[in-house]
Symmetry: C2
Subunit: 343 residues, 2 copies
């Protein structure tokens, strides 16, 4: 009774080996401060759990609009960016329409595009993970083009002129996935608010340290926002997450101080990996992709030291591991463990 | 850049007129008790907001399995039943496949089926909202058949033998949407656990009084569950909702005492509406559909009294209003307001 290609799929494997230090999901190592949590809890104590949430997260959208410097009607809130990617594909893709993205990039683009009967076209990134002319060519007849900025799992921001070249050549809608944008300082949000036909995705899961509440934002021209709203589940963002996200945005100055620490630690980690001959790729995110001589062995040695990083099975990434920045203490433990392995 | 049929859609209208007493969304009038909320908050204080939730809500699934009397691998958790309906259609429908349901029924069946390029086939319910032979005939070549049990917005449970006749005649997957099942006392969950190829949907939004946390359960044979899991967004249920749902299930004896009060109040409301000549339909849910002589006028008169009920635009329901049971005090206010209108 299932679609044959769904019955043949293997599920997203959520089973991870236990470890003391978790550096495989690009999470922030920093929870909300006790002070901000107090504010969250005092708000949560005032809301009725038995009533449906505000269907379009009006208060949260207002705060997100202010944070991002766009009008409220440019924003859709989602149960994480994943849900917003799903809605974009739902709203724009007829069966057989083309969804284009580079390889490697975020795995959900393919999964969700295939679920929605799209024709998935990918082109490999270049030697240094740069956008290629082949990708631009493939994008011409695309309905949707997804670009991570910075890209996950490679960590780099593609050349802005190259992105703009792609945008000028494609007939489709270009989606800039800015999940890690706070760590790069670069964004396309201003271009959306200036009227460009472009979609930007943001999330509270990374720089804001709120992966647990699953809240993301889609920023797009109002006409696209309206289309997305007609495929959006009416009460997609629960009350508890809405309230928590609101308090986080109200206290963003405090929370985003962590970004500076994470960037500093990332640069330190990059230098260390380079010194150790582990071939890290330049990164503008909160993680580093690197290429040890034997990724599989290295992964298990780290796991024995109680540290979980991310391994890959895709051909271009077979020899790579991805590690996100933890607290300074966690990073120090990681550095010691790597020294030990390499000694 | 949107699909033409999406661009032509008008959004789900989430704007409701303000009112003092809200009886239009089939919510429970009862929030969690202070005691249970304390337990929820003491759990919430212990969890890291910066870490992704458990991808498959393992702890919650265990408690749901125990509550429903099925094995854990028969359960998928969802961000409300809406999300689970979306996944069922994603996993089972190729473009043009048939999704069948009676009219009137829950509006999301049509919206989500059309989003997924299904061919939607509906047949009207009979005079007393019963399943008809035409629906059974239409179901024969369906891929999915949705049946509310009790049905929303009519409130009745379809005849069980008629449902079984439909099941024996269709090649498709039958989904029994039991959002209001705690108020009827009837369920098909036992048949799923006995190995029948059937899907049941349950929710914490109604009898459990947790509409604000958006948590639903899909109960199906493991093979279906596995298929759904491959289209499910990996972290679809946030940490705060998981914890709250877990505590609710642990304290279900307390919470479900409200069901008896709601049933008693519903029966009282039904009798009153009948006495007043407002033609209520027999109901096994937490709401009553009724047919005043002028639904539109009646709706606005109630709104002037500070009470919001549900009106409809579908042809069969144009003259109907739906009102859910509130607290005894709210119901008394409703009764007084109706007496005033009818005097």
């Amino acid at each position: 009774m299932l679609r044959p290609e769904i019955a043949a799929r293997s599920g997203y494997d959520a089973q991870h080996p236990a470890a003391r230090i978790i550096l495989d999901a690009n999470e922030s190592p920093y929870d909300l401060t006790p002070d901000i949590k107090d504010r969250v809890f005092s708000r949560l104590k005032q809301i009725p759990f038995n009533r449906y949430p505000e269907a379009n997260s009006r208060a949260l959208r207002g705060l997100a609009a202010e944070h991002l410097g766009v009008d409220e009607d440019y924003i859709v809130t989602g149960n994480g960016s994943d849900e917003l990617i799903n809605y974009l594909i739902s709203a724009c893709i007829d069966p057989g329409d083309r969804v284009v993205f580079p390889e490697p990039s975020f795995s959900m683009y393919r999964i969700l595009a295939e679920t929605h009967h799209a024709e998935v076209i990918t082109e490999p990134l270049g030697e240094n993970w740069e956008l290629t002319d082949d990708l631009i060519k493939a994008s011409r007849k695309a309905s949707l083009v997804f670009l991570g900025y910075p890209n996950n799992p490679t960590g780099n921001c593609f050349d802005r002129e190259k992105i703009n070249e792609l945008r000028s050549e494609t007939d489709g809608l270009v989606i800039i996935d800015e999940a890690y944008s706070e760590f790069s300082g670069h964004s396309f949000v201003d271009e959306v608010s200036a009227g460009e036909p472009l979609v930007v995705l943001r999330t509270l899961s990374k720089a804001f340290g709120l992966a647990g509440i699953r809240t993301g934002f889609l920023i797009a021209p109002p006409q696209i926002v309206e289309g997305i709203s007609t495929v959006k589940l009416p009460y997609n963002l629960n009350r508890l997450s809405q309230v928590t996200a609101e308090e986080a945005l109200k206290n963003k100055e405090t929370i985003l101080k962590n970004v500076d620490i994470i960037i500093e630690q990332r640069n330190k980690l990059f230098d260390f990996l380079e010194e150790q001959g582990l071939k890290p790729y330049p990164t503008e995110a909160n993680f580093v992709l690197f290429r040890p001589s034997c990724a599989d062995g290295f992964y298990h040695q780290l796991l024995e030291s109680g540290i979980r990083v991310r391994s890959f099975s895709a051909p271009r990434l077979e020899n790579c591991l991805r590690v996100n920045v933890g607290t300074p203490a966690e990073n120090q433990t990681l550095i010691e463990a790597i020294k030990e392995i390499n000694s």
